[in-house]
Amino acid sequence: MDLMQAVNISASGMAAQSTRMKVISENVANADSLITPEGGPYRRKIVSFETVLDSNSGLQKVNVSKISQDTTTPLKREYNPAHPLADENGYLARPNVNTMIESVDMRDATRAYEANMAAIESAKEMMVKSLDLIR
């Protein structure tokens, strides 16, 4: 077990948080997408994390286990009979993305990323201190 392994663990956390950030931006960018290749409006995506034992160091790494679609939150329905994509009753199905939730999620990801960064900084300082011992 050395300090480089501690840095690796923090790096796994940073990688996981950047994947989360990527999916959040995808959600925000597609908040108004009404057509997708699968048909129907865009559905919000959710990232799930899982703890993985790093066999090298015996420490707990973090991994993205899956990116799934949010099918429980209902799609927004908007009355707009003039729209070409409206159904026979004049309703338009819009993506189930809530920009407020996404922005809070984004902030959470940023904070977690910063915390991992602080852990790396701290490990780095310890490494410098041990290098000072041979002087």
Partner: protein
């Protein structure tokens, strides 16, 4: 017995590096559902080392000198305040642990170089 000082310090530094890794793991998993906070404790083997590490005493009122510690580590889990997603990481506490580990490491390396310079001084070289 200056070598014993080095031994204890290396042991201490080993522990701090181990702890740094565990705390990093906690921070990395701060948003993982079902993750339980982990920590390592330093199990001192003070009594075992006492006999060969105490200062000689010529008077009963003299301070015996603090024994050095060395020992194994034990993993612990913190199951207090588990959130709804099953995660029990408290970010503020982890940040505090990070700082604490860093400070203790700084102290250990400082002590290491101090004892080295003391030894050099005794050998007649300027430490």
């Amino acid at each position: 017995m200056p070598t014993n000082v080095y031994g204890s310090l290396v042991n201490r530094m080993d522990y701090l590096v181990q702890r740094q890794g565990v705390v990093s793991g906690n921070i990395a998993n701060s948003t993982t559902p079902g993750y339980i906070t982990k920590d390592v404790t330093f199990e001192s083997l003070v009594d075992k080392n006492k006999s060969n590490m105490s200062m000689s005493v010529t008077n009963g009122t003299h301070i015996k000198g603090a024994p050095t510690t060395s020992g194994g580590f034990a993993m612990t889990e913190d199951r207090t305040h588990i959130r709804h997603d099953g995660n029990s990481v408290k970010m503020d506490e982890e940040m505090l642990k990070l700082q604490e580990t860093q400070m203790n490491y700084r102290l250990a390396t400082k002590l290491y170089s101090k004892s080295k310079s003391m030894q050099l001084l005794a050998l007649g070289k300027q430490g």
